[in-house]
């Protein structure tokens, strides 16, 4: 007897393994019959932030989750086309205004040493999968696929913006059923992603890591450098744009991706060690007088630059997205690529344009592992669309109670208590209401850079001092960094100026859009209200994350607000915790007061 799929003409497909590695955020994803079975980011397993190595552990995780071996893999899809990428590197060298032979030497040496030309061979050597089964998918097509095929939209405008893929830095197109058609692109050196990264470096932060900090810093400034920066872009009819390369070195960068010309117009770049404070109360202890004034003045300048960078970036994003929507006539929009993590821009696209957005929760290169696999699935027999990705909890599975108990026992920390499922939220809410900061570890790990209530650090958002406490004592990060709120769905519109949510795939479920906190509640929720009165909220309902939702309800019962401060469960420079042992180790070395592992609460006490 034929299955329903077979009757519908959809033949069974085998497992397709999607891989991304060799640049940053290596990942693996396993797709079967159009469904994402498992997906893992290598850094979570290796514990090396942005790990770019071959994702052995992530693959192993995917195989274990699905109960398969390499022999069961029908196809492998790699997330970009290596030779095309290398072709671009050579082209860049040939076309650079000032050729930098060191760059070419280093790049070629790196490609040879790390065998970046031999992706198929390496996959074969690692997994024993025949080379004929391994295919390359274009970098931006991988991104587009991750966004569109997981969106649940039958048809959508798709826009990818990142640093650079093979040649493209921005591309747009239309998705329909199992098809994606590219309509246009902007190529290197015209890159909004690299522009943002260059200014991230200018502002003293690490590229590919500090972009969020620029977004956070922007709230403290005014876009007084907007005209200068905006003049560096020429927006073209149809969605393209050109960037003035006098200010940037994107083709063959040396140490820094900007030129002296940028320093001439913006002033000296920020020293990474320089304090940042725009308010006297944020100054480091003991700094007063002229030194304090100098820090405040310099910080204001840098905040103004950040605000200007953000505003120009939003201009370019709006230009590309609006143009693409005009071309397709479809207001359902899928965004992908690292720039799609610019939650300030995303919030504005939703509010001001009324676009129905879908953003893949791992919009960066790790998400391309899923994208490449889904693209490959849609090229195969049956060409089935994937189901909408409503859950970001694709990572390491929820540990069993015995595993949690073993980890607690190994750590030496004392158990505060074990609680029945209906009691746990009330006990945790009580601890939070007392001002404790809590590590919250539940269920499967999140896919993507956001902790969405399964590997989170939680705190009371109504306490004004909580932002400072968590930044300084728990996360050891810059004091200006904002924290996001998780809010139960019933209270979203009470506290936030948030347009109506579409469904469980709305960006607000994945903490991917910033909206304003309603003025009346900014003082009620000081720890999650950023300097400009906004917050990058995460909506939680009984379906999206039942236990987290229960906790929010319990907290509301105690403190009157169904909102919690939610930040990723990691320390500065560390990947998000993955296992109970990781969680307990991070607990050790931070100012966290308790950690909740499943239904166990662990205190900081231990006997010596």
């Amino acid at each position: 007897m034929k299955s329903r799929d077979e009757r519908n003409g959809l033949a069974e497909m085998g497992y397709i393994l999607g891989l991304s590695f060799d640049f940053h955020d290596s990942a693996a994803a396993l797709v079967k019959d159009g469904v994402v079975v498992a997906a893992g980011i290598e850094e979570r397993f290796s514990r090396i932030k942005h790990d770019a190595s071959f994702p052995r552990k992530a693959i192993e995780f995917c195989f274990q989750t699905a109960g398969v071996s390499p022999a069961d893999i029908e196809a492998v899809a790699y997330y970009e086309v290596p030779m095309l990428k290398f072709d671009r590197i050579l082209w860049s060298y040939e076309n650079a205004g000032q050729r930098n032979p060191d760059y070419l030497d280093r790049t070629v040496a790196s490609w040879l040493r790390y065998r970046k030309f031999e992706i198929r061979d390496r996959i074969f050597e690692e997994l024993g999968i025949a080379k004929e089964k391994i295919s390359y998918v274009g970098h931006h097509i991988s991104h587009m696929s991750a966004a569109f095929f997981c969106s649940g939209f039958d048809a959508a405008t798709i826009v990818t913006m990142d640093g650079v893929g093979e040649y493209e830095t921005t591309s747009w197109g239309v998705g329909n059923g199992t098809k994606i058609q590219k309509l246009g692109s902007a190529d290197l050196p015209n890159s909004i992603g690299l522009f943002y990264s260059a200014l991230t470096a200018f502002l003293g932060f690490e590229v590919n890591e500090g972009e969020y900090k620029v977004m956070g810093m922007a709230a403290f400034g005014e876009p007084t450098y907007y005209d200068i920066l905006r003049a560096m872009f020429r927006l073209e009819e149809g969605g393209g744009f050109l960037i003035d390369t006098n200010y940037f070195e994107f083709l063959t960068p040396k140490d820094i991706p900007y030129t002296d010309a940028l320093v001439e117009v913006l002033g000296q770049p920020r020293d990474p060690k320089q304090h940042f404070a725009t308010l006297e109360e944020d100054l480091p202890t003991g700094i007063t007088g002229a030194e304090a004034d100098a820090i405040l003045a310099a910080s204001k300048r840098y905040a103004d630059i950040a605000a200007s960078v953000q505003k120009v970036t939003e201009d370019v994003i709006f230009h590309v997205v609006d143009s693409a929507v005009r071309a397709t006539g479809i207001k359902e929009v899928c965004l992908a690529g690292g720039v799609a993590l610019n939650s300030l821009a995303n919030g504005r696209l939703i509010r001001e344009r009324g676009y129905s957005l879908y953003i893949h929760p791992a919009a960066g290169d790790s998400g391309s592992a899923i994208g490449a696999a889904l693209w490959r699935a849609c090229q195969g027999v049956g060409k089935r669309r994937s189901a909408p990705l409503t859950s970001p909890y694709l990572g390491t599975r929820c540990p069993r109670d015995e595993e949690i108990d073993q980890a607690i026992s190994d750590s030496g920390f004392q158990l505060h208590g074990t609680f029945a499922p209906d009691q746990l939220p009330f006990e945790v809410a009580r601890l939070l209401a007392e001002g404790n900061v809590i590590g919250w570890f539940q269920g499967n790990a999140e896919w993507g850079p956001r902790a969405l209530g399964n590997r989170s650090i939680l705190a009371d958002p109504t306490r004004a001092d909580m932002k400072k406490i968590v930044n300084e004592r728990i996360k050891f990060r810059e004091p200006f960094r904002p924290f996001a709120p998780a809010v139960m769905i019933e209270e979203v519109y009470k506290y936030f100026e948030c347009p109506e949510l579409r469904d469980g795939t709305s960006p607000e479920y994945f903490m991917l859009a910033v909206h304003r906190v309603l003025p009346a509640f900014r003082a009620v929720l000081p720890a999650i209200t950023h300097a400009d009165g906004t917050a990058r909220l995460q909506v939680v309902d009984a379906t999206s994350n039942p236990i987290f939702y229960s906790l929010l309800k319990a907290f509301k019962a105690l403190r009157g607000v169904g909102v919690l401060m939610n930040t990723s469960y990691n320390l500065k420079g560390e990947p998000i915790v993955d296992t109970p042992a990781d969680a307990l180790r991070t607990f050790s070395y931070s100012g966290l007061d308790y950690v909740v592992l499943g239904n166990r609460i662990v205190s900081k006490d231990f006997a010596l």
Binding site: R47, G286, D410, L584, R585, S588, G591, A607, L608
Partner: protein, 445 residues
């Protein structure tokens, strides 16, 4: 130790820049006096810019005309300059055409921490008299500052701040005289890592020397017939387990009266980054670079060490790290008490608990932490030091919590040369405080 030949005709060339911080200047001046004591023929020259510095910090020394260098009669030349950059070893006021006759002259430098170091040449057996004392000394490279293999633990050669014995401890070679000492003669032995070794102090500045002087003064002032000898068995990198071995191998038979365990940093920092299994299953803490020794011995460099990259990351939870430290320390305590001595639980200080950093401390620490693989580990260890301090507070034992004590000091106090090693002023505080504890135990206060 590196020392000047007292019989050699020696020229000292001062070339300090005008902006040396005051604590550094004091240390250089102190080091000049220490290292040149006993040198029979000493000629001091200085460039013009250095003269005010000498008048301020060494007002009693006579400065001669740099032209005396032309005589070429010198056998030793010492450059006093706080920079490591070798170009400063050649004085900018060098008389035209004069070049020191290098084969005959031994060159030295006194660095910013007061160490006497060979300049522009390798160490040799004239610099360190114990360099060839035993086989493992001889088999190691003659470097001025390096760890080397020893079958009972790891040793570190650190000459330049005064005498060390053949095992690298800042104690005399012959300790046999202490064995059958007078009961009124109290022997205090101190243990710890490089901070216990006191690597940035001259012999008279070591906390153990401060202790000894303070205890003998207290005894004298209180009319007691007690007298004290305090010996320093601190060794670079040592964890408590190493201190136990040192005690067993070198000290047990001396029947010391007091043992000071001045430690904490190494057990916690190394404990955090090492193989968790050894920590948990055997209470073994070890210096992470010992894994490199194993690779060398077995030719297994292709295998990964526990830490696979930098910066290092903590691999064990706090209870295991602190559990090892306190377990081993209790073991040490019980051995010491069984041997008839009193055991003083010390918790060493570090800069993270200092109220405010002195500007020079801030500069030094920043320079030290740059490219330091432990940089994140240092920061993450803070709650563990706090917890250790709390634990010590609860314990009814002879103790001294210097982690807490140093929290009282502010930006006017230059106590740390880096996050954990102390300046002479820092050692002075340590020595006085330990002396108070022992004086109390002896009824001297």
């Amino acid at each position: 130790m590196t020392q000047l030949n007292s019989k050699a005709r020696t020229a000292i060339i001062f070339n300090p820049p005008a902006d040396i911080p005051s604590p550094t200047s004091r240390q250089i001046a102190d080091a000049f006096r220490f290292h040149t004591t006993g040198v029979n023929s000493l000629t001091v020259v200085a460039q013009v810019e250095a003269v005010p510095w000498i008048e301020n910090y060494l007002p009693d020394i006579a400065i001669e005309d740099p032209g005396v260098l032309r005589s070429n009669n010198f056998e030793s030349i010492v450059f006093v300059h706080p920079f490591k950059d070798p170009k400063f070893y050649i004085p900018p006021f060098e008389p035209s055409g004069w070049r020191p006759s290098a084969p005959r002259i031994r060159f030295y430098a006194i660095d910013a921490n007061g160490r006497l170091l060979p300049a522009g040449r390798e160490y040799d057996d004239q610099d360190a008299e114990n360099m060839d004392a035993h086989i493992f000394n001889r088999l190691s490279k003659p470097e001025g500052e390096a760890l080397y293999y020893f079958p009972y633990g790891y040793l570190f050669r650190y000459p330049g701040v005064g005498p060390t014995n053949q095992f690298g401890f800042r104690v005399p070679d012959d300790l046999s005289g202490f064995k059958n000492r007078d009961p009124e003669h109290k022997l205090v032995l101190c243990y710890g890592g490089s901070s216990g070794f006191s690597m940035f102090t001259l012999p008279h500045q070591m906390y153990t020397s401060v202790m000894e002087a303070s205890l003998n003064k207290k005894a004298l002032e209180s009319g007691s017939s007690l007298r004290f000898t305090v010996l320093n068995f601190g060794q670079h990198g040592n964890v408590v387990m190493n201190s136990i071995l040192t005690y067993v191998l070198f000290n047990f038979h001396l029947k010391p009266d007091f043992i000071v365990a001045h430690d904490g940093w190494n057990d916690i920092i190394y404990g955090m980054v090492q193989d968790p299994r050894l920590l948990k299953c055997g209470n073994f803490a070890y210096q992470n670079n010992l894994e490199g020794w194993s690779q060398i011995l077995h030719g297994t460099q292709e295998l990964q060490q526990t830490q696979t990259g930098t910066p290092f990351r903590p691999l064990s939870a706090a209870p295991a790290v602190l559990g090892q430290y306190f377990t081993r320390k209790r073991q040490f305590e019980s051995m010491v008490r069984a041997n008839g001595a009193q055991f003083i639980w010390g918790l060493q200080p570090n800069s993270f608990n200092k109220r405010h950093l002195h500007p020079l401390e801030a500069t030094n620490i920043e320079a030290h932490e740059k490219n330091m693989p432990f940089i994140d580990v240092y920061r993450q260890a803070i709650p563990l030091f706090q917890r250790a301090s709390e634990q010590l507070d609860k314990m009814d034992v002879p103790k001294l919590d210097l982690y807490e004590e140093f929290g009282k000091y502010g930006k006017d106090d230059y106590l740390f040369v880096d996050p954990v090693h102390l300046s002479p002023d820092g050692d002075e505080i340590v020595g006085r405080n330990y002396a108070d504890v022992i004086a109390n135990l002896c009824g001297l206060n």
